[in-house]
């Protein structure tokens, strides 16, 4: 009982570390697309680990938490995809480090459709 609680707490702590790194990434990254990369996704594992830690602490919740993880996995990519797509069509500037943008070369510049 005791050890399970400690293991669960450690897993949740690991998850919150990942969420923290995701937040740090939002501050450090140079443009919107890289912020989405760090922010919405370094936190994927963070959320999963946090919920998983809770499942270890309280086994009665495990199925419900698995359903929540499932929904996070389904909805998370949709939101980041929609935001980045809208930003790209709106013409948000990308950082100077950007190597290539093959989507723009495709004669479908925003506003010219």
């Amino acid at each position: 009982m005791e050890t399970l609680e400690i293991i669960g707490a450690l897993v949740t702590l690991l998850g919150s570390i990942f969420i923290f790194l995701g937040g740090l990434g939002i501050v450090r990254m140079p443009d919107l697309f890289n912020r989405i990369q760090a922010g919405t996704k370094a936190s994927t594992l963070g959320t999963i680990l946090s919920l998983f830690g809770l499942a270890i602490i309280n086994e009665a919740w495990i199925w419900k938490l698995l359903v929540i993880i499932f929904f996070v996995l389904i909805t998370n990519p949709v939101s980041s995809n929609v935001i980045s797509r809208a930003a790209h069509f709106r013409g948000i500037k990308m950082t100077d480090k950007t190597v290539a943008d093959l989507l723009v070369d495709k004669s479908n510049k925003p506003g010219e459709e």
Partner: protein
């Protein structure tokens, strides 16, 4: 009315019901059947999202295998992005690359695009027919063939079996 679509949706909804309630009492099961049946009749009859999916044991095993592969990729790439964030030099090399998929079914493409987005480091921005435009945090190559293999080779192989 698409029978297979309705039944597949019903099975999925009823599974979620079982997981959320967590009991096998008769009243709860009956209520779940009524709710899942009603919802799948209302929303399933005019769409064909789950119509192509066949619930065979082979599909089930491959789905499980897919989940394991996906989880491992999520862990690997999460650590990768986290390490980039804490590195003082911020070693990123971003860009949007184009890749081509072999998958035909809309459902398979959707799952592939979402899996690519879920693994940090790659982010699907747009889909035009069989071309995916992907924001890659560390561009290694601009060649569509090699990039496809690098980004989604593992996923595509399994999804091809499930959705064809």
């Amino acid at each position: 009315m698409n029978i297979r679509n309705v039944t597949n949706l019903f099975v999925l909804l009823f599974l979620i019901w079982l997981l959320l309630t967590g009991t096998f009492e008769l009243t709860s099961l009956l209520l779940g059947i009524v709710i899942a049946g009603g919802l799948s009749l209302i929303f399933g009859k005019n769409s064909n999202v789950f119509g192509k999916l066949r619930l065979t044991p082979k599909v089930f095993i491959y789905s499980l295998h897919y989940l394991i592969v996906l989880s491992w990729e999520i862990v690997k790439s999460n650590v990768d992005v986290a390490l980039r964030v804490i590195n003082p030099k911020l070693p990123i090399n971003p860009g949007i690359v184009k890749v081509k998929t072999k998958l035909k079914s809309p459902m398979g493409r959707m799952i592939l695009a979402n899996s690519i987005t879920l693994t940090p480091g790659t982010l699907t921005i747009d889909i035009k027919d069989d071309e995916f435009y992907i924001h890659w945090i560390d561009v290694k190559t601009l060649d569509p063939e090699i990039a496809s293999q690098e980004i989604m080779g593992k996923f595509e192989k399994i999804l091809e079996v499930i959705y064809g």
